[in-house]
């Protein structure tokens, strides 16, 4: 009996050591800041009455995509603008190789398009409320959102109620297009709770969060490179070229039959396929001189500037 106890006593700690096994995986939630220059949030509008108006507004900041890549190459290397390195081009059907991102995320997503005319035009985190949404398209872009009868919508409440009935949602938070949480914890729901807010220097900044990202390094311990780009709203209707109108939620509601739109599945793999003139990408960073932000540690809190406009 005594020897049995000794054997079991040795066996149990041996088994327990398995619980302390280190898989060697460095997985973190990675956060940081994206800075949009004021120029990227500014556009000149030629009004129908002939007047010219320059508008600087957070709603001119389209969805921002953040990716982690092996490296970012300078302009006129992979593309005419700074662009992540790409793998081999092995098929005649492809226009560019795969950038093989390690991970990524977006600041602003396409969701809850409850009218066909909203699909691929409205990213989250850009509008304080639905009235502001209706006014932006009707007054600033002069391309109003239209209802199922192809009539322009001027009432934000109509958009809101349509979303409730079409999506079977019961709150603005479920719709997720407007401000519903006190992001800056100042006790007030306002424009300071949007994805991007204006800084004192006149530029705009927003935070990104990449969930459960495995950290990767080279043999010298240098980490992957953060790169980001912004899809600017198209002149005219304000649609976004990074949105695939054949994907997303299928809406079948009376006479409405459409897809709500979703980001192209290979957007981070081949961003240049969807990037157009007028969009902005992260180029050489003034603070470091690097293209993109090169991680030195998974604990880094990078600030990356989307500072290169594609012409």
């Amino acid at each position: 009996m005594f020897r049995t106890s000794i054997a079991l006593g040795l066996l149990l700690p041996a088994l327990a050591t398995g619980c302390a096994w280190d898989e060697g995986l460095e997985i973190r939630n990675m956060t940081g800041t994206v800075v949009i220059p004021r120029e990227a949030a500014t556009r000149t509008f030629q009004r129908s009455d002939g007047t010219v108006e320059e508008v600087t507004d957070v709603r001119l900041i389209g969805p921002v995509y953040v990716g982690l890549y092996p490296s970012v190459q300078p302009e006129d290397t992979v593309q005419r603008y700074p662009h992540p390195e790409v793998g081999p081009l092995f098929s005649a059907d492809l226009s560019i190789g795969d950038a093989y991102p390690y991970g990524g995320t977006t600041i602003g997503t396409f969701r809850s398009a409850c009218l066909k005319d909203m699909a691929c035009r409205i990213p989250s985190g850009r509008f304080y409320d639905f009235q502001e949404m209706a006014d932006w398209f009707a007054d600033t872009l002069e391309s109003p959102i239209k209802d199922i009868y192809d009539q322009p919508i001027t009432s934000g409440e109509l958009i809101r109620q349509t979303c409730f009935s079409t999506l079977n949602y019961t709150s603005d938070a479920e719709i997720g297009l407007t401000v519903t949480s006190d992001r800056n914890e100042d006790g007030v729901l306002d424009h300071e709770d949007l994805d991007f807010v204006e800084r004192t220097d006149g530029n705009f900044e927003g935070e990104f969060l990449i969930w459960q990202q495995e950290y990767a390094t080279n043999a010298d311990g240098q980490g992957f490179t953060l790169w980001a780009f912004m899809d600017s709203p198209a002149p005219g209707d304000g649609a976004f070229s990074t949105c695939d109108s054949t994907r997303g939620r299928q809406v079948d509601e009376y006479a409405e039959d459409f897809r709500a739109g979703a980001v192209y599945q290979d957007l981070l793999n081949r961003p240049s396929v969807r990037l157009n003139r007028g969009d902005w990408v992260a180029g050489q960073q003034e603070a470091t001189g690097d293209y993109g932000y090169i991680y030195q540690s998974p604990d880094d809190l990078p600030e990356i500037w989307i500072n290169w406009q594609i012409d």
């Binding site: 020897r3 793998g87 093989y100």
Partner: protein, 344 residues
Amino acid sequence: MRIQTVGLAALAFVAGCSFSGDFLFPGAIDGVPAVLHIEAEGGGPIIPVVVPVDDDTTPDVNEAVEAVRGATVYVELGPSGDAAVSGLTFNFEGTGGSVCVLADPELVYWNQAVGTQGGASTTRWRFPDNPYDDGDVDLNAGLSVYYTGTEGERMGNFAVQYQDSLGNTVPINLVACTIAADVTFNPTAHAGRGAPEYCTISNTQPGVSYTVALDVFSLPPDDNRLSLGLLLADGGCNPLIERAAPAIAGVLEHVNEECIIMGEAIPGGAEGFVYYGYEADRSWARSEDFEARFCSGDPMRAFCTDEFDAKSEAGLDCDYYTPENDDEKCYCGDARSTPTGGAF
């Protein structure tokens, strides 16, 4: 004493380390290759056949069908005996244009429709299939330089390891053809049991060697020997199917694919086979009638009830599991085990 018992138990666990698991796989069959590499009849790479448009100058002959039949290669594959994948490879040289690869394993398969509702597209599948005579192959093709297998010895793939500048490797699949059909006609997956699988390799590079690799996904359970027909044709697959589907093929276009290659259910002999070109009466008796019925768009019931009645009148029983001759061979399933709608 107790320690000795624990020690014996530990030794028993250690014995598990020598477990091979080979008994889980059907044994290799002498004379029937598990991995096969074929060449054209006269040697060398297989040349894509140019399938003409039927010009109606000879009403009794469909030139497209005849061209396909003349160019079809029939082969037989057996099990490897272990976990190694069995399959077949062949090479061809790029033409500068599109090339269609089509493989049709024996025989045909359908899911039995047991619901009481539905139109003709449902009711035609009310009779059960015999699933024991159906095999499945997965078709891949790409540039030979990327293929990792060894001709006639070991199946491989077209995956290469790309190393990015950070030093991390990424597997890249360099398969050059997208499978155009599967059991649900989803263009992104391989076809299912007994179903033809095909793909078009677009813009082939002239004179550059391509490899077609057919991995055996499953062997017919009735004999563990898979016979299949292969076709390499110049141009895209869709025009080929429109052009060369026999007149018997019905309106369901995707079913027509099954009748591009006919007579692929060939009885196995002492040795495996490679036959170049179609030959009447080579396959199991009535198997081509069975395929033709499948492609016709008409209910399978007529063929299946005839088969069942004929066997009953002759006092014969179907042997679904190990048929050795035509008398025992049945292509349809056992109607007596057919469930009714809503039941199991």
